[in-house]
Symmetry: C2
Subunit: 257 residues, 2 copies
C-alpha cells in the first residue's frame, strides 16, 4: 500500500479531448494525467476522478486523486505534474490526503456553468467554449424556469437514456441565469449535491428552448411532475459546459496554494 495520497484540482479546455475517462487510442484527460504523473513516479496509481466529463466538456474545478510512495510537497507535485501536461490542462491546486482517498465518494456538492453566446455571428474567442444561438432569448423566462429547479426533486426526466440509476432524487441549492461579465454570453449556473448523466446539458437546452419560445414556460415544473424526458428541451452541446467547482468533505490539511 502506498504511503501518500495526493488530491489535485484540475482545469482543462476539453475541446480536443475525448472526455475525462481513459480510453485506448483516444486522448483523454485521465490518460494525460496518468502519463504526466508516471514521469515523476512510475509506480503511482492511476488517477481517480471525481466526475466523468464528456468529450468537449471543460473544467475549472475537476478533482482527481492518486497514491504514491514519493514524499513531495504539494507545491512540487502541482508544478512537476503541470510541467509534463499539454497546455490545455493545468493543475491549479494540490493537497496531501490519505492513500486510497476517492474524491467521488467525498463530494458534497458540484457547481456547473453553461455558457450561451446569443449572437448572429461567431466569436473567435469562444469557439468550442460556448453554445452559440443566433436568436434572442428571454432572460426573465429563463431565470424563472431555472428557479423551479431549486430544492429536492425527483429529476428522473433530466437524464440521458444511458443513465440507468434507479435513485433519481437530487437536491439543487442554486440555479441562476445572468449576463456574463465582459462578454455577450449568458451563463447558467447550477449547484447541487449530485447530477444525473447529461443533466446539466438538458437543463441548459431546456432553458434556451423556453427563452427562445420553442418550449412553453413551466417545462421544468411539468417534467418534475411527469418524469418524462419529452417535456424538456434539447440536450445542449458539450462545448458550453464547465465543471466549475466541487466541494469535498476532506480537502487535505497541507495544500498549495
Amino acid at each position: 500500500v502506498p504511503n501518500f495520497g495526493v488530491l489535485l484540482t484540475v482545469a482543462y479546455d476539453g475541446k480536443t479531448f475525448s472526455g475525462f475517462a481513459r480510453q485506448t487510442n483516444a486522448r483523454t484527460i485521465a490518460g494525460e494525467l496518468d502519463g504526466a504523473i508516471a514521469v515523476i513516479d512510475p509506480k503511482a496509481t492511476p488517477v481517480r476522478g471525481a466526475s466523468r466529463t464528456d468529450a468537449g466538456v471543460h473544467a475549472r474545478g475537476q478533482r482527481v486523486a492518486f497514491d504514491s510512495d514519493k514524499s513531495l510537497l504539494p507545491r512540487n507535485w502541482a508544478l512537476a505534474i503541470g510541467a509534463q501536461l499539454p497546455t490545455e490542462i493545468a493543475i491549479t491546486r494540490a493537497a496531501v490526503v490519505a492513500p486510497g482517498y476517492d474524491p467521488r465518494r467525498h463530494a458534497l456538492h458540484k457547481r456547473y456553468r453553461y455558457l450561451v453566446l446569443e449572437s448572429p455571428v461567431r466569436d473567435p474567442f469562444l469557439e468550442g467554449r460556448a453554445w452559440r444561438v443566433p436568436y434572442r432569448l428571454n432572460h426573465v423566462l429563463m431565470q424563472e424556469e431555472a428557479h423551479a429547479l431549486v430544492g429536492e426533486h425527483d429529476f428522473a426526466a433530466f437524464r440521458g437514456a444511458q443513465d440507468e440509476r434507479t435513485e433519481t432524487v437530487r437536491r439543487m441549492f442554486r440555479a441562476r441565469v445572468r449576463a456574463a461579465v465582459d462578454s455577450r454570453c449568458i451563463e447558467i449556473v447550477v449547484e447541487g449535491d449530485r447530477f444525473l448523466y447529461r443533466m446539466m446539458r438538458i437543463i441548459a437546452g431546456t432553458l434556451v428552448d423556453v427563452g427562445s419560445g420553442r418550449l412553453e414556460p413551466n417545462a421544468v415544473k411539468r417534467a418534475l411532475d411527469t418524469r418524462h424526458r419529452e417535456d424538456l428541451g434539447v440536450t445542449a452541446p458539450a462545448e458550453g459546459l464547465y465543471l466549475e467547482h466541487m466541494e469535498l468533505d476532506d480537502e487535505g490539511a497541507e495544500g498549495w496554494p
Copy 2:
C-alpha cells in the same frame, strides 16, 4: 473603377496566424479575408487594413475595406464572407462606403487592450491569449505609470528598432490598469490617436516591469524626457495584445448590425 466600397469590422484569435499582412506561404488574416471575399466576388480588390497586427496578436475591432461591383446588403456581405472564413476569424459588422475608402487614412483613434495573467500556474483558457507572469505585481504603481502616458508627448522611446518614422509625437487619451472582470487577469487599456511600431507591447512590458519591481517607478516619465528605449522595460509578448476598437471618421451610412 468598382461601384461599391465595403467596410468590415473583423475579430480574430491571432494565435495561429503569421500576422495581418499578406505573405506568400504563410497563413495571414489579410490572405484569409481575400480568399473568402474571392469566393463571393472573384473580381473584388484585396482588402485594405486599418492596422497591421503582428503574428500572434488578436483583434476584436480590426477594420478592413475592399471594393466590388456586386451590390449586396451589408448583412449579406458579413454573413457570406463569415461563412467562408476559418473559425478563428469573424466579421462582426459591415457597411457600405465609397469605393477606394482606406480605413487607415480615416482612423481617428485606436484602443488596445493587453492582458496579463498573474499566476504561478497556467490557465488553459488563456493559452496564447494572455501573458502569464508568475509573480505578484503592484497594481497601484502600474496605474500611476500608465497615467503618465496620457496627453500629447514625443513617444520616440516607445517603438521597435524597425520603426523609422521621424514624426513620433502622439496623443494618448486614456491609459488604465485594472483587474479584468471574471478572470485572474489584469488588463492594460490604452487609447490614442495613433501608435508607433510595438508601442503598446513596450508600454505593457514597462508597466509589468515597474509592477514587479524590476524597473524603478517613473520609467515612462524618464523615457518621454530622454527618448531612450533603454529607459523602458521589455517588449511584452504578442499573445496578450488585442486591437480592441478603432474609431473612423466615416463609418458608412448603411451598416449591419
